[in-house]
């Protein structure tokens, strides 16, 4: 013992450690951001494909009903409003395909073949947005 205590020195955490910690944090954050972006993109892509499939499925059902009408049948779900035949084919919970047809002699005239929202539009006027002077 030399009688003189050595002063306590904390473990050396140098600049390189701080730099690496910062770099690793940045890498991790960017990796997580890219993964979440891709996950959202995948969900969107799947929804888009599903929407296309559902639309053509409903469109095929509507075409089949039209074909049956042309054969002289009155398929289930077809309403006769005056001389207009109207029916709807569900596309999804949020939309359906509305069809209106009129028989002109032997020809079927398509008056409406339209994708419509399944529920009524509810305007949200809770926010005080600027609507002009």
């Amino acid at each position: 013992m030399n009688g003189k205590e050595r002063p306590f020195s904390p473990p050396a955490i140098g600049g390189s450690s701080l730099l690496v910690i910062f770099a690793v944090l940045c890498l991790t954050v960017f990796a997580l951001l890219s993964l979440s972006t891709v996950k959202a993109g995948t969900r969107l892509s799947e929804k888009r494909s599903e929407a296309v499939r559902a639309y053509y499925e409903a469109d095929s059902r509507a075409e089949e009903i039209l074909a049956r009408l042309r054969l002289g049948e009155l398929p289930e779900g077809v309403e006769l409003k005056g001389d207009i035949y109207a029916y709807e084919c569900s596309v999804s919970d949020a939309a359906s395909l509305a069809v209106e047809l009129r028989l002109n002699g032997e020809d079927w005239e398509v008056l409406r073949w339209q994708l419509i929202p399944a529920s009524e539009w509810e305007a949200d006027d809770s926010l005080p947005v600027w609507i002009g002077d």
């Binding site: 050396a12 890498l27 891709v38 075409e63 054969l71």
Partner: protein, 150 residues
């Protein structure tokens, strides 16, 4: 006083190892995200091209030659199966796409096919439209129908 050089060297080595490990893990995540993003873009393009084919067939009332000409595809004999149209003279549409989604007879990255289907209702025609990638995996498929004019 003892030199701190070995301690600094050990610290540097440990930090390099940690960085290498984290970089390798993050790089894997980046590569996976890039591949998945490309696969999503392909699925979107497949849906777009399938829609184009469907609307061409509907608009032309099942004129496969017209659809083949517009899409840059070819006509081939319809495949036969339980579900498919049995008429031998019916043709199916085949369009080949490269990885950039440009149609070319030599391309083999993606294929779009439109095969006529048998329908139970007279006057109605249907086709099964499918887009597959080079490995045969299906990106999208659906049935499209139209009226057969006499």
């Amino acid at each position: 006083m003892r030199s701190r050089s070995p301690l600094a060297l050990i610290e540097l080595l440990i930090m390099i190892m940690i960085f290498a490990l984290a970089a390798a893990l993050c790089l894997r995540a980046f590569v996976w995200a890039d591949l998945k993003s490309a696969s999503n873009a392909d699925a979107d393009m497949a849906a777009l091209h399938a829609q184009s084919a469907a609307e061409l067939l509907k608009g032309s009332e099942g004129d496969y030659s017209f659809a083949a000409m517009e899409l840059g595809g070819v006509l081939s004999a319809a495949q036969h199966g339980d579900k498919l149209a049995p008429a031998a003279e019916q043709e199916s549409l085949l369009v080949r796409y490269g990885s950039d989604w440009k149609s070319s007879p030599e391309a083999d990255a993606f294929t779009l096919s439109a095969v006529p289907l048998e329908t139970s209702v007279p006057g109605l025609e249907s086709a099964l439209i499918a887009v597959n990638d080079a490995s045969g995996a299906e990106l999208i498929s659906f049935t499209v129908s139209w009226q057969k004019e006499d």
